[in-house]
């Protein structure tokens, strides 16, 4: 039987309940929600309530006057238990009242002493003591971190301190927290050995579009509603940016837009587009995995040869000449003019078809939909969204550049109904001092740690164990190196702080690594930690972020932090305070002075010290007033009581992201060169199955809260791998059987889910699961700038068990709707 809550009524929100602005803390779309709180022993009535509706009657579809049990909880607010409802905001332009299967569970995924939800949340600092983790005070935990860290850093040499730190918005990210960690590691220090939450280095995931002058988030979501053609590349927005799809792309299709989906697999998005637009208006280009660059270069060549380009735009807004930036170690392809790119990227229809596995007719059809001018000669408005299918795919730099080439050539950037944009994962919320000292290519942190690099490791909401590549080897080495330190600490039980620090330092000099983990839960890499520091999420603090159309909003704090957990920015500030103190005690006054300027008491202090210093018009009060519609960045001013934003970038035809004074966009001159990353071709040759991988609708990407959400884990008790039924029969598999996926770099497990639309020998496995890390079978190969290639992975599959008891009970039917 499926999981049921057996909740058959909910408290009614009373008139006068406190209302808070909330942007969903999961994906980049950032749907608007309202959080309502009110005292525990009160509630509204059917004829007297927050919305003024008669709740004694059945409400109609799409009503504002209903909320699901997942939208309800009891939480602490200023120390008191209160009712909490977090429901979608009908007045928010982003989602118009729609809630996704992730965001509409926000309330249920809050920690509650009363209902028992999310008991996994960390509440107190913990240190490794007496052979396990023991709770302790913040000062004690931070003192140990500061003393050990101070032993391995010095003025001008912080290379033995490794830092893994999120750079995203939403959730526990946001401008306050990226500034907190940024000011500590890039201001007070100049830490070079660092990485970001989802990749093994500190780098852009879209270098080429930026080098070409085009920021990756350049449109407004409303552009999807007025486009003639929507092109979706390596992205599955029905599942991963759900309400961008339902509230904007669907409206575009209803307004007549055609859709091109470039993806090796038939995703739910393809099916949904066919449902809305009709199959005749949807072109699914099921290319051979990793051949995107060949497709884009062929399209670019064909479109240019037909003259379906915007000559005025090219003349006025793009670089004229030959090569502007040569290919070198920091640029995996040269950048230059339109004509130079035509030469460099030239690919015939025949070659493009042979490489991608498409027909020439399909490529021509796509080119016509993208670029063929209308009968009156006006431009076809084509908006392009792309995501991890190419970002975490073959030849990142060149493939993204080739896609932006098409947008530039057809004048579809900075124009209504246009844009070439990332669809995104988290929201964004990046404000930090310069990272130029990190260098480009940036250091490959995971491989350096495997090779013995690093003595102290500060981790801010990263879980390498679940979400990195080459994860099996990383875990083996990291467990060994951190266990060395744990054993040294255990051997000195009862020692003074000074003796303990000496013991730790002795062990890290012998090859160990001291691991400090800041997170909201005890993560998998957190099992290796020596100090664990509890952080909070948005809603437990005030937090600002921007969404995929650069829409900046403030999530208002609506509940207390779990236990003594703190915002990351405040943790960073207190760590800076302790480092300053310890360094001063050690007589290192000049170095200690670098750690001044962290006297923040609140997250608003961090916001004003950081984001506001670069954007003086933007304050918490003004963002509160802007509500869930917020303001689209960059903010240009404050007029008539409202912040003035920017709907769309580059409407003036001046391109700036590369920092060039001439304001001209550059084209990317990257020719097709097969599977670029080391080891991929050999892996393909030696293994039967493509192990494509990515996100799924039901769970948030890293599963952090969902791993303790009954509704999610009931449906997906083990991560799934979708396999064609014929392949399953050959492997002797029944639906739900546990398989091992194994190759030259590692192994992982999944349950077999039959997928009749899958191509034979091509599977898809959900990423980042706690009980089957897909990254175990991703090899260490990256592009020249250390961008991982997750998607092009091959492995063999064998049955290791019948379905687990939980997996045996779930549905294995098709995900495609039947109407």
């Amino acid at each position: 039987m499926a999981y049921k809550r057996n909740i058959d009524r909910l408290p009614i929100i009373p008139a006068g309940a406190t209302e808070h602005n909330v942007t969903c803390h999961y994906c980049i779309v950032g749907c608007g929600y309202k959080a309502y709180t009110w005292p525990l022993k009160t509630q509204g009535k059917v004829d007297s309530n927050w919305i003024g509706e008669d709740l004694s009657k059945q409400q109609a579809a799409e009503t504002e006057a209903w909320y699901a049990p997942s939208m309800y909880n009891v939480v602490k607010q200023n120390g008191q238990d209160v009712h909490l409802v977090i429901k979608p905001d009908v007045a928010c332009e982003v989602n118009s009242g729609l809630g996704s299967v992730r965001g509409a569970r926000m309330a249920e995924n809050r920690r509650s002493d009363i209902t028992g939800t999310q008991a996994q949340r960390l509440t107190e600092p913990m240190v490794w003591r007496y052979g396990t983790w023991q709770p302790t005070s913040w000062d004690d935990a931070l003192d140990l971190v500061a003393r050990v860290t101070a032993r391995v850093i010095d003025k001008g040499n912080e290379n033995d301190l490794y830092v893994s730190m999120f750079d995203h918005g939403g959730s526990a990210g946001g401008y306050e927290n990226t500034w907190g960690t940024g000011k500590l590691y890039f201001g007070a220090m100049k830490v070079k050995h660092c990485r970001i939450h989802n990749r093994p280095a500190y780098n852009s995931e879209v270098h080429s579009t930026r080098d070409m002058g085009v920021d990756e988030l350049n449109y407004s979501y409303s552009d999807y509603q007025v486009a003639d053609t929507i092109m979706l590349v390596g992205t599955n927005p029905m599942e991963c940016q759900t309400n961008l799809f339902l509230n904007h792309m669907v409206k575009g299709m209803q307004n007549g837009a055609k859709v091109i989906v470039v993806d090796p697999r038939r995703t739910v998005t393809v099916d949904s587009c066919e449902q809305v637009a009709g199959a005749e208006n949807v072109l699914h280009l099921a290319i051979a995995s990793g051949s995107d660059l060949a497709l884009f270069n062929t399209l670019f060549t064909y479109i240019a040869d037909q003259g379906w380009v915007d000559a005025d735009f090219i003349a006025n807004s793009t670089f004229q000449g030959d090569v502007a930036v040569p290919e070198d170690a920091a640029h995996p392809a040269a950048l230059g003019s339109f004509e130079a790119a035509r030469v460099a990227c030239k690919m015939s229809l025949a070659d493009g078809a042979a490489t991608t596995g498409l027909t020439e007719a399909q490529i021509i059809q796509a080119a016509e939909w993208i670029a063929k001018p209308k009968e009156d000669g006006s431009r076809t408005k084509t908006v392009t969204g792309y995501e991890k299918g190419i970002i975490w795919g073959n030849d990142n730099y060149r493939v993204i550049g080739a896609l932006v080439n098409i947008g530039l050539a057809t004048g579809n950037i900075g124009r209504e109904g246009g844009g070439v944009c990332r669809l995104g994962g988290h929201q964004e919320g990046y404000f930090r001092p310069s990272d130029a000292h990190v260098g480009r290519p940036a250091p490959y942190i995971d491989q350096l740690i495997i090779a013995g690099g690093g003595k102290v490791h500060h981790i801010w909401a990263n879980d390498h164990y679940k979400t990195t590549l080459n994860a099996a080897e990383f875990k083996r080495v990291y467990n060994r190196r951190t266990n060395m330190v744990k054993e040294a600490m255990d051997a000195r039980a009862g020692a003074t702080r000074e003796e303990l620090v000496d013991a730790i330092v002795g062990e890290i000099n012998a090859g160990g690594i001291f691991s400090v983990n800041v997170d909201i839960i005890h993560s998998q890499i957190g099992q290796a930690a020596h100090v664990i520091l509890p952080a909070v999420e948005s809603g437990e603090m005030n937090l600002t972020s921007m969404n995929g159309e650069r829409r900046l909003r403030l999530v208002e704090k609506y509940m207390d932090a779990p236990g003594s957990a703190q915002p990351d920015c405040i943790i960073a500030a207190r760590l800076a305070n302790h480092l300053e103190r310890v360094l001063r005690e050690e007589g290192r006054a000049e170095y200690a002075d670098q750690f001044k300027g962290f006297d923040w008491k609140t997250e608003e202090d961090a916001f004003m010290d950081g984001y506001n210093s670069g954007n003086p018009e933007v304050t918490y009060d003004r963002l509160r007033a802007a509500g869930n519609n917020g303001v689209q960045e960059p903010v240009k001013g404050y007029e008539n009581g409202a912040l003035v934003g920017t709907k769309r970038l580059y409407e003036d035809g001046v391109f700036t992201r590369h920092g060039r004074d001439d304001g001209k966009a550059l084209f990317c001159m990257g020719s097709w060169r097969g599977l670029q990353a080391p080891g991929k071709s050999q892996q393909q040759a030696n293994h039967r199955f493509l192990i494509n991988n990515g996100r799924a609708n039901l769970n948030w990407q890293n599963w952090f809260l969902d791993q303790k959400n009954d509704f999610v884990m009931d449906r997906l008790p083990v991560p799934f791998i979708q396999i064609h039924p014929d392949d399953m029969a050959e492997l002797g598999l029944k639906p739900g059987d546990m398989v091992e996926v194994f190759n030259d770099v590692g192994a992982t497990q999944a349950l077999a889910y039959p997928e009749p639309t899958a191509r034979k020998n091509e599977t898809f496995m959900v990423f980042g699961a706690p009980n089957g890390a897909q990254g175990n079978v991703i090899n260490a190969g990256t592009n020249e700038l250390i961008l991982p290639n997750y998607k092009q992975t091959w492995a063999n599959i064998r049955k290791i068990s019948d379905a687990t008891p939980a997996a045996a009970r779930v549905s294995y039917k098709s995900w495609e709707v039947e109407l």
Binding site: D8, L55, V101, N697, W815
Partner: protein, 174 residues
């Protein structure tokens, strides 16, 4: 456009007007028959409502019902093979709300794979797995109605295991 999408338009009139389909109109609402079968104390008191008789059901052909009252549309369905939670002599009779718990659209039954499908945003639910959401946007599985079949083969609904879309109390109050 396939015909089942039009079902949505017609059936939403049901919500506006409270007009019940033929089978539902015949359903008789009576007071709870046996307090010994009451739900846990935290749960509402549900009416015991006769939905039909085993003899009326044809395999894999859903019958429209209303439960706990006429404004809450559902289906009564004989699946043809026993399922966990199934009622009746063959253990294969189930009943569900047909309002999608995401946004309340009226769902249609797809007999080929025994699922309920939402025309609004394409969620779907497995009638053989307790209404588990196969794929979709709802944050709960489909409310399933607890069934009792008496010695005459009459089928009564006597409870629900999830909150029904569009009502903050499954048994309307006030």
């Amino acid at each position: 456009m396939k015909c089942n999408r039009l079902v949505d338009v017609g059936r939403r009139q049901f919500l506006r007007g409270g007009v019940l389909g033929a089978a539902g109109a015949a359903a008789a609402t009576v007071l709870p028959a046996r307090q010994a079968q009451a739900q846990s104390l935290a749960m509402l008191d549900y009416p015991s409502t006769k939905l039909g008789n085993v003899a009326d059901l044809k395999v894999n052909e859903p019958m429209d019902i209303g439960y706990p009252d006429a404004d809450s549309p559902g289906i009564l369905l004989k699946l043809g093979s026993a399922v966990e939670g199934g009622a009746g002599p063959d253990g294969d009779i189930v009943a569900y709300s047909v309002l999608c718990p995401h946004k309340g659209f009226y769902m249609s039954y797809h007999a080929a794979d025994k699922t309920l499908n939402c025309p609004g945003h394409f969620s779907r639910f497995d009638c053989e797995k307790g209404g588990q959401q196969v794929w979709g946007h709802a944050t709960q599985n489909l409310p399933q109605f607890a069934l009792r079949v008496d010695e005459k083969g009459d089928i009564y609904a006597e409870g629900a295991d999830e909150l029904i879309y569009g009502r903050l109390s499954n048994v309307l109050q006030g």
